[in-house]
Subunit: 344 residues, 4 copies
């Protein structure tokens, strides 16, 4: 199997390069970049020094890539740009795993509310949002699926713990409050004063309140996977924290069944055999430092008899399980490899 | 006026030393420490080099201090230890400002639930919890008040924005969810693996869920100041974030009156003329880095028509407005100085 | 006395605004900015909320400023731009304290090697480099001096400990090796990938080796103040360290007189009565965290009988003693105020 | 092959557990800990959740381990304690790779100067210091070698770039000045105020000047490998920097042959085919962030015609190439595996 990466200038793209270079079942055959074509990978990504296998960036010509012998492409591009490539690669029979938001949202109206008009609605029938721990496995063999949209970082940290509890009626779907803290790499390599070291050090700060774009994806999936279609509106409060990587999410949700045993049963049913979810022992809380560099979601819960809520906490590495690692996990499942290949 | 500080080994105590050394109206006459008696201040607190005015730590003998000519003492001690000093200093006619939890909670039963039996219930009639922005000003001239309990860091970040909204009926008292991120100095100088640099860097982690001791103080004050005594039970989710100083608090609360104008009116009424509260312009959110080193609370709010909630954010410096700065502010008000003396 | 600040968009300019707003002897009468004219200070500099005294940025028209009633201007501008203002303000009789490099170097040829052709050589006779702890005090009353060039951050950390030792013959002038670590604010608010949080966290990295521009100023002053004009060529190795503020400098220099007593005597002679230099007790080393927010240089030394060297360490806050604080100290001395006014 | 780890409570021990669990040629058969015997690995080392293969800590009884079927032991213990295990394991025919200082220094007098009397001088004939990039390869098949002492973190960052230059006469052996910045994990999990987050954040600070214990090992190896036995005395200035991991080293050394080509030739000769050393292109400097998590040393050099020195910079991950990764690299070479097995 040959894989290619289109757009590897961001943190997720770089991480994807590393994962695929070390992957036992896939050959990384091309990494594209318009501005860097011809340069060795390690010259641009210094952490790859000595392990880039002599690869160089190639030009990002979609038609040429479509005509070549690469089987599967990862799109590590901004939204909008990803759809442009998908439009050329899908008709050529290529499989595509898209790390952007372009195909995460099934409902074009919801997409438009947060991102503007959908750039390629005609491809939506061939696209599928896949969160491996939650999406029913039929997608793996569904011939209609030619593009898989990998979930966003915040949504993964929220959906993995919350969907099983909604699905099994352990928690209510009203009054759900989600607070998340993200490492600064979540903003990518954006050249904006906001992301300078001297601005973000010693700083925790909420941003994107009541309008963060990930809301579209989170609420669509909560309804599709958790409530049988009943709409769910959550309060989602994202924050920047002074660290490079990691998302820590804390969910407060009213219990319908206040028993911690019921909660754990729902989680264990959902996570049985899943290699990348860890339910923590009672009394422990997830820590972004403990999942750094892994493809794992750690999660735990505590009931509060005073308020009738559960407080649920999760942690993941936004660049790994929140982006590149999850994309590789999706590839592993799609191509029939071991789910953990290249990920531990 | 002569002031003394009992216990200055922690971060708040050190900050208090600096504030009082530079205070225009008060002479710092004694800083006590059992183990460091005789050593120059700057030898123990290196940031004071060249500005400790030759002061040395003195022994912490309560009886001797009670017999001396110092008018007002700050207690920067662990809970329990503070009450021991109060028991000797109050009968000697000294004023006391206590930074510990010993006298923050008026209801001894509530105290006991979180801290164990109250160490000096007989002093409670002479003690008063004072959050300068909220506590009615009569305390300043109430002869019964001999000890003022300065609020905790988390409570300050929550009460300042929330009490005016409860009091004016802008928000409901159910389904209140509070998430806070604290800098690691919030744990003091505790020698525990948890607080090592290599453990906390790159780490955001919830802790103390459903049982943090500050709940006692927060909920008592919400009821006393905000709801006319009606009990309020909040979900309080504290986290450590990888920074030295600062608390960022995000409160989700259902709106009774969903108008942002009503919210701002309640805040402006409560904060009119208060030098240490800043209501941010619409669209901005507080940042711990912007309040570092100040005695300020920055706060803002945004309504969410989708959920019917307000999302309220605040930030303060846990060592300043959360401890030492607030204690000096209390002293300024109590002694009739300008509220901002020594604080800007 | 009225003071103005020209250019306050960088970290040093912001710090200068804060220092002058709180200064007991000077009225901050104008802060200029072409792009921000009309906006309140605190809107642009959020840490000033509630303490900007209602000041707004004004336009940076040099002629208008020259015609106004402000007595002294601080130039917090890039090199080159500073000279343009000096050229207008000096003929109008204004005093100028320049935080840029434009007038730090007396020898125009040396300036040109590092910065290109000097932008205003005709003003050099009216300009003087002043490091308050080292420059002989005659500058304060020299009528020819109309502009004072405040030293750079690295040079201050090097010159303060090293000049007295060269001057008194305690150390050699060959084989001097200086390593410095700077906080990222030293790069200003430059929008460059290099300074993004996700790039600088967990990163120590040398830069500017063998060609850093501060070499011109360091070596000129070492010769002028330390060796009676004999040239000194040092190895200067600057590094970025993952912190916001601070410079830690470590100097290795062969001892001519290996006695630590001789070294301390030279330091004590040079620093007697200087409020902003601290010689640390034997066995202690300076720490950037201990000088953060102060105008201090902490320094210490240890002899190595094995190598015949002294190892000298110093620390300062690059934004304070390395820029804005030092500029205020210079103003205090120039205008005859107490040297520490507004600085403790 | 079965391997065991004795003492895994520190950061290097934990890292070693991860490397061996994922190693393709070795079975991690035992991880010992007196105080944690019986507990699952992942309970103590949370980053291992889901990948500890069900292993539990076992008791650290040296005699029992000597009698068992494990072929090779890693000692991740404090100095002194390591020798106690070596004394039992070597006579039982076990191979030992020691991460402590106990057997790094061939000269017992040099050991004693820095550490006190040697704990097991009778084992020195069976021990060998091995820095894979520099130590002549005969050690791999020398039957007398039963214990390999893995180099320290600072020494590796210094010896790898410097030894080839001394050996080939490119640089002088006098006036060598080495400055290093280490991440705080270099101090291990020591419970000391010095290592608290709130103390080390925003702090760069020199420590251990003129007496750091690694000097013994650095200078012995510089003489043995670099100068044919001629003694070398360096100035070694270690610093703490506010990061978890990484060492950045900057070496100033007078050039004997000032040609950068001669320097690069010496490096290329020494590093030809070495998978874990990268010589950076001219103009680039190593960055601790770029080697984090790798077993690599990045290095570069720049000549200074003004001073006649070379400035040489290197970076490595103190926990990987500075400890656990290097230990695995040594094992790979000793047991005839591919040098990179389990390390990329």
């Amino acid at each position: 199997m040959k894989a290619g990466i289109i757009g590897a200038s961001g943190y997720s793209g770089e991480s994807l390069v590393k994962l695929l270079l070390a992957h036992p079942r896939v050959e990384l055959a091309a990494v594209t970049s318009r501005s860097r074509a011809g340069r060795p990978l390690a010259e641009v990504i210094p952490s790859l020094r000595g392990r880039d296998r002599g690869l160089r960036f190639v030009d990002s010509d979609a038609a040429a890539l479509a005509a070549g012998d690469i089987d599967l492409f990862f799109l590590a591009l901004p939204h909008g740009a990803a759809a442009e490539y998908a439009r050329v690669l899908l008709p050529a029979g290529k499989r595509v795993i898209d790390l952007s938001a372009d195909f995460r949202i099934a409902d074009p109206a919801a997409y438009e509310r947060y991102y503007g008009p959908h750039p390629a609605p005609e491809l939506l029938p061939h696209a599928r949002f896949v969160l491996p721990e939650l999406t029913p496995p039929a997608w793996k063999t569904d011939a209609a699926v030619r593009l898989v949209a990998a979930p966003g970082c915040y949504p993964t940290s929220i959906l993995v713990p919350l969907v099983p509890l909604l699905r099994d009626g352990v928690v209510a779907r009203e009054h759900i409050v989600v607070n998340s803290c993200s490492g600064v790499s979540g903003a990518g390599r954006k050249l904006d004063e906001t992301y300078l070291y001297a601005e973000r050090a010693e700083s925790v700060k909420a941003y994107g309140l009541v309008k963060h774009r990930h809301l579209a994806e989170i609420e669509e999936q909560l309804a599709l996977l958790g409530t049988g279609g009943e709409p769910v509106a959550i309060q989602f409060n994202p924050h920047f924290a002074p660290m490079r990587r990691g998302i820590a999410t804390t969910i407060t949700v009213p219990a319908k069944n206040p028993s911690i045993d019921a909660l754990r049963a729902a989680w264990e049913k959902a996570c049985a055999g899943r290699p990348f979810v860890q339910i923590l022992p009672s009394g422990e809380t997830p820590d972004t430092a403990h999942v750094a560099g892994t493809n794992r979601v750690d999660m735990s819960a505590v009931p509060d008899p005073r308020t009738g809520n559960f407080v649920i906490t999760s942690a993941l590495d936004n660049i790994m399980k929140g982006a590149s690692g999850q994309a590789v996990q999706i590839m592993n499942l799609w191509l029939g490899f071991d789910e953990t290949a290249g990920l531990v």
